[in-house]
């Protein structure tokens, strides 16, 4: 038994070159399931969104969902894939209670989309990730194992199965192995999944929420000594956030390097990522590889997407998120650094929508990246959950119209975030509107001048800076609801300076 000495990440990368690969599953947001007309709503009572087809009852037959095929082709096109002119579904056979038919209808050697790529930006550089295939399959049900220690099937006394998810269309996107990323491998993996998520979200075919499982990721890692053949790879499952993608690759690189350094070899296996510890653990080892006995699904006819249809879908693709971002950065006049901050804050779309609702780029960015970002940070909430782009634009409109000062607007925003209503409603309810009634202002100014005759004289004598005292008095009298600039002009006009 060799002892395995831990290595730092830097040491690991010094000695070994990582090769990564990613398999991503995306649940499509189609209205109905892949092979039946059942709804796909998330979070319904268990086993209420089922029918003979998705329960795999004897005699039932699948009919492929055209919307799902279209969505898959659009994903393939957005990933620069070739769309197969002839493609088939295949059965993947294995026994498991959450699979109603004990086989999964999937695709094997004739997938819908092949040979694509996705460019991702890592530390200002473009990395091209090649896509091997994009195929369509059905999701399984969900099993809940009770009575066991681990929540796994072993040791459980009871298993409950919910088939609501069974048959929801699932797109699998498989990259080719990505070599040559060196120490940036974890960042590349994260950037790829992020970019993929954005691409798919832009297409509007899935809500791609990792926390709800509508985007799931398996991470493959192998290491080799420089100049040598690629090593044995492991597949890490249960990677449920962007941060985890990065951490899983990193920890697997460190683990494998330590194993190799000790003279041991890497076992080809499936591992599970633990959010708590940040490392990977071996899954249940299978003594022999499962033979899925794939064969063409005889219950479905082959798919032969019409070339004209594919061309039409291609022409209608939205701009890629990366190009879109570049265009926004120019339009908003941001430096790379500022744009990166906006991206990191997840504020691109919010700012874009705020501008669309009428605010200037500067104002939109100021609110989202300033006051709102600070608040999101403090409370640990999603930026988008605080308020809407429409409300922010409405707030800015009040400022632009002179009804609110910047300071007042921040207070109004507080009320909006607290759910007190629209900016106009909050302003009215809290009585925060700028005092622009000249009569009221004139009275306050007269009062201030009368109360401070010496200061007034100085101002009259040309010492304009002395006006600050008078302005302060007026602002105090109007409880800050006057526009300081207006007050200043009025005072100077009055004192003839």
């Amino acid at each position: 038994m060799t002892t395995i000495a831990p290595l730092s990440y830097e040491q690991a990368i010094e000695r070994y070159e990582p090769v990564i690969g990613l398999e991503t599953h995306v649940e499509l947001g189609t209205r109905t399931k892949m092979f039946c007309a059942c709804p796909t709503d998330f979070g319904a009572e268990p086993n209420t969104q089922v029918c003979p087809v998705c329960l795999g009852l004897p005699g039932s037959l699948p009919v492929a969902n055209r919307a799902a095929i279209e969505a898959t082709i659009r994903i393939g096109l957005a990933l620069n894939c070739t769309i197969a002119s002839w493609s088939r579904f295949a059965r993947k056979n294995y026994f498991y209670p959450d699979m109603p038919k004990d086989f999964q209808t999937s695709q094997y050697d004739e997938p819908l989309c092949v040979d694509g790529w996705l460019d991702v930006e890592v530390e200002g550089e473009l990395v091209r990730v090649e896509i091997e295939r994009v195929h369509l399959e059905e999701d399984t049900g969900k099993t809940l194992h009770l009575g066991g220690a681990t929540g796994r099937i072993h040791g459980a006394t009871e298993s409950l199965v919910d088939y609501n998810r069974a048959g929801i269309p699932l797109v699998e996107i498989v990259t080719r192995p990505v070599p040559g990323t060196g120490s940036r491998a974890p960042l590349v993996a994260r950037a790829y999944v992020t970019e993929l998520r954005d691409v798919i979200r832009t297409l509007g075919v899935s809500d791609v929420r990792m926390e709800q499982g509508s985007l799931r990721c398996d991470v493959n890692v192998s290491l080799n000594r420089p100049g040598q053949e690629w090593g044995t790879r492991t597949e890490t499952k249960n990677v449920n956030s962007l941060r985890s993608v990065e951490r899983a690759v990193r920890s697997e690189i460190m683990r494998q390097a330590a194993v190799l350094d000790s003279g041991d070899r890497i076992v080809q296996e499936t591992r599970h990522f633990s959010e708590d510890t940040g490392d990977t653990r071996p899954g249940r080892s299978k003594e022999t590889a499962t033979d899925y006995r794939y064969f063409p699904e005889p219950d479905l006819v082959p798919l032969a997407p019409d070339a004209a249809w594919v061309a039409e879908l291609k022409a209608a693709l939205p701009e890629s998120p990366r190009l879109h971002r570049r265009r926004l950065q120019e339009a908003w006049g941001l430096s790379d650094h500022d744009m990166q901050s906006v991206l990191n804050a997840g504020a691109v779309e919010l700012i874009e929508a705020t501008i669309a609702a009428g605010a200037s780029p500067d104002a939109a960015r100021k609110w989202w990246m300033g006051e709102l970002a600070r608040r999101a940070n403090e409370t640990g909430t999603e930026l988008s959950s605080l308020t809407s782009p429409e409300q922010v634009a409405a707030l800015q409109r009040l400022v632009d119209e002179g009804k609110l000062t910047d300071k007042l607007a921040r207070t109004v925003l507080e009320g909006v975030v607290a759910g007190e209503g629209t900016p106009a409603e909050v302003m009215a309810a809290r009585g925060l509107e700028v005092v622009s009634d000249t009569g009221a202002l004139t009275a306050a100014i007269d009062e201030a001048i009368a109360a401070n005759p010496a200061v007034a004289d100085k101002v009259r004598g040309g010492q304009v800076a002395a006006a600050g005292v008078l302005i302060g008095a007026v602002m105090k009298a109007t409880k800050g609801q006057a526009d300081a600039k207006t007050v200043r002009e009025l005072i100077l006009g009055r004192l003839g300076s």
Binding site: P52, L55, G56, L57, P58, G59, S60, L61, P62, V63, A64, R91, N93, F95, P97, P100, K101, D102, F103, I153, H154, T157, S159, V161, D291, R293, Y294, F295, P298, D299, L300, V301
Partner: protein, 492 residues
């Protein structure tokens, strides 16, 4: 009156009901009485639905009384092979593993029967999951041939054929994967038609081999089979492999053929099936039948289908492969039998114990065969190779149909055999489908028409037609029927 009713054809019964000479309830009751009187000996039925049948019949009578225009077979009773789902009515596929299961939905064909006013009498016996040629593999005991109760009625649809032959039902639904409608038809002296694959919906048919399974009609006359074909056929959006085209003009063809004129029709004699492999009595009747066709004006040409000899082995790779996957779902988790769920077994063990107890030996044999044929490393040599043979057989058919409008062969190499005579050697049983399998692999329609007796037992002529030319086989069948005396089994 009762005897007359049960011996009437479906077309005659429909006429009696339409004219008011008999009510649907009377007709149904007569058949239920007949079943009650003889089915303990024949065992064609696994489940008789007296109540449902009488209610459906009463509904037809009420609708007729209300002046509704009903379909051409309204009020006519029918038996349904127990492999098609019937809502709320037990459906077992002849297997212990589904004993007690009541499906929550009707198969498309069953729904169409109900909508057309046919009265479903019950569910008929079959070899387990339609795997067999004798009903000896039914988990609920075999069906007996009305011609000789010590002999098999054919299979897998022996129950449907025997019910029709024994006058328990004028019509029945069968399913044909390798000959399961035609071979029982031949050995019981009844008509059995396998439509074009995709011409009749598989939705609700418990799958044996998805790329081959084809539901079709069983009847005592060609016209009845055609009438039933027209009711159940046609596109079904719930079955992706269903052909989006109207049913070929089968009823018209049956009526045209009844005139007995086959002038200008080219009948292809498949050289490979013209004598070899069949027992002498069957060959003799077949030759007489060919002469009869010539007398009717048909031109007989010899055609060669060199790959037909590989049909049987190819079939016994493709069908079990698909079956191994189709039958995986019977795992005790969701419905049917569950064994070992006593807290001492793991889930995997419960699945395994359930399948071990629930499946019979022939089903297990085919699951193992199919699992092997699909396994990695063997796929190309077995499943892949069989698919190539399938393509070649399709080409043989295409070439033959250049020379002939239809092809003919005996339906099955031998007449009804005694129970137990072929169960010892699976291959001897598989040979029963030697002549029927090519049409399944090709996908074209084929029919078995009663054409004579050999040693007092029925022999069938098989007529094979190009895909979606189902009408042709009905025309030939009706012409032959017009000159061959009807085969009537001894009284039970």
């Amino acid at each position: 009156m009762t005897t007359d009713l049960v011996r009437s054809s479906a077309a005659e019964l429909a006429g009696l009901i339409a004219s008011g000479e008999a009510s649907a309830v009377e007709v149904t009751r007569a058949h239920l009485d007949r079943i009650g009187a003889i089915d303990s000996r024949v065992h064609a039925f696994l489940h008789v639905d007296d109540e449902g049948a009488l209610a459906a019949a009463a509904d037809v009578d009420a609708r007729r009384a209300a002046g509704e225009t009903l379909g051409p077979l309204a009020g006519v009773p029918i038996a349904v092979k127990d492999v098609l789902t019937t809502k709320g009515v037990p459906t077992t596929a002849g297997s212990k593993i589904l004993e007690g299961w009541r499906p929550p939905y009707d198969a498309t064909i069953v729904r169409r029967l109900r909508e057309a006013g046919l009265v479903i009498l019950g569910k008929t016996n079959m070899d387990e999951f339609a795997m067999g040629s004798s009903t000896e593999y039914s988990a609920f005991g075999p069906t007996r041939n009305p011609w000789d109760l010590d002999r098999i009625p054919g299979g897998s649809g022996g129950g449907s054929a025997a019910a029709v032959a024994a006058y328990e039902a004028p019509l029945a639904i069968g399913t044909d994967t390798g000959g399961s409608i035609r071979q029982p038809g031949a050995v019981t002296g009844t008509v059995g038609a396998k439509p074009t694959y995709g011409g009749t919906s598989r939705y609700g048919l418990i799958a044996f081999s998805s790329s081959l399974d084809t539901p079709g009609p069983c009847a005592r006359t060609i016209e009845d089979a055609a009438l039933l074909h027209a009711v159940i056929g046609g596109h079904d959006p719930a079955d992706s492999t269903s052909i989006p085209a109207p049913v070929p003009p089968v009823v018209e063809a049956a009526r045209e053929g009844a005139s007995g004129d086959l002038a200008g029709v080219r009948v292809g004699l498949v050289r490979q099936f013209a004598g070899e492999g069949a027992e002498p009595g069957v060959v003799a009747v077949f030759r007489e039948t060919v002469e009869a066709l010539v007398k009717l004006g048909a031109e007989v040409v010899e055609v060669s289908c060199p790959h037909f000899e590989y049909a049987l082995p190819a079939y016994y790779l493709i069908a079990p492969s698909e079956a191994s996957s189709n039958l995986a779902r019977f795992d005790g988790v969701r419905y049917g039998l569950r064994v070992g769920d006593d807290g001492t077994h793991s889930l995997e063990e419960v699945m395994s114990l359930t399948r071990d107890a629930g499946f019979g030996p022939e089903v297990k044999r085919r699951i193992i065969l199919g699992t092997f044929a699909l396994s990695s490393g063997y796929y190309d040599a077995y499943y892949g190779q069989a698919q190539k043979v399938r393509t070649l057989i399709g080409r043989d058919f295409a070439a033959a149909f250049e020379q002939a409008d239809v092809l003919i062969a005996p339906t099955t190499p031998f007449v009804a055999f005694p129970f137990g005579s072929r169960t010892g050697d699976p291959y001897q049983m598989y040979l029963a489908d030697l002549f029927t399998i090519p049409s399944n692999l090709y996908g074209g329609p084929a029919i078995s028409v009663p054409c004579g007796l050999s040693d007092g037992l029925p022999v069938g002529l098989q007529v094979m037609a190009p895909t979606m030319a189902d009408d042709r086989m009905y025309r030939i069948g009706a012409a032959l029927e017009s000159v061959v005396p009807q085969l009537v089994p001894p009284a039970l």
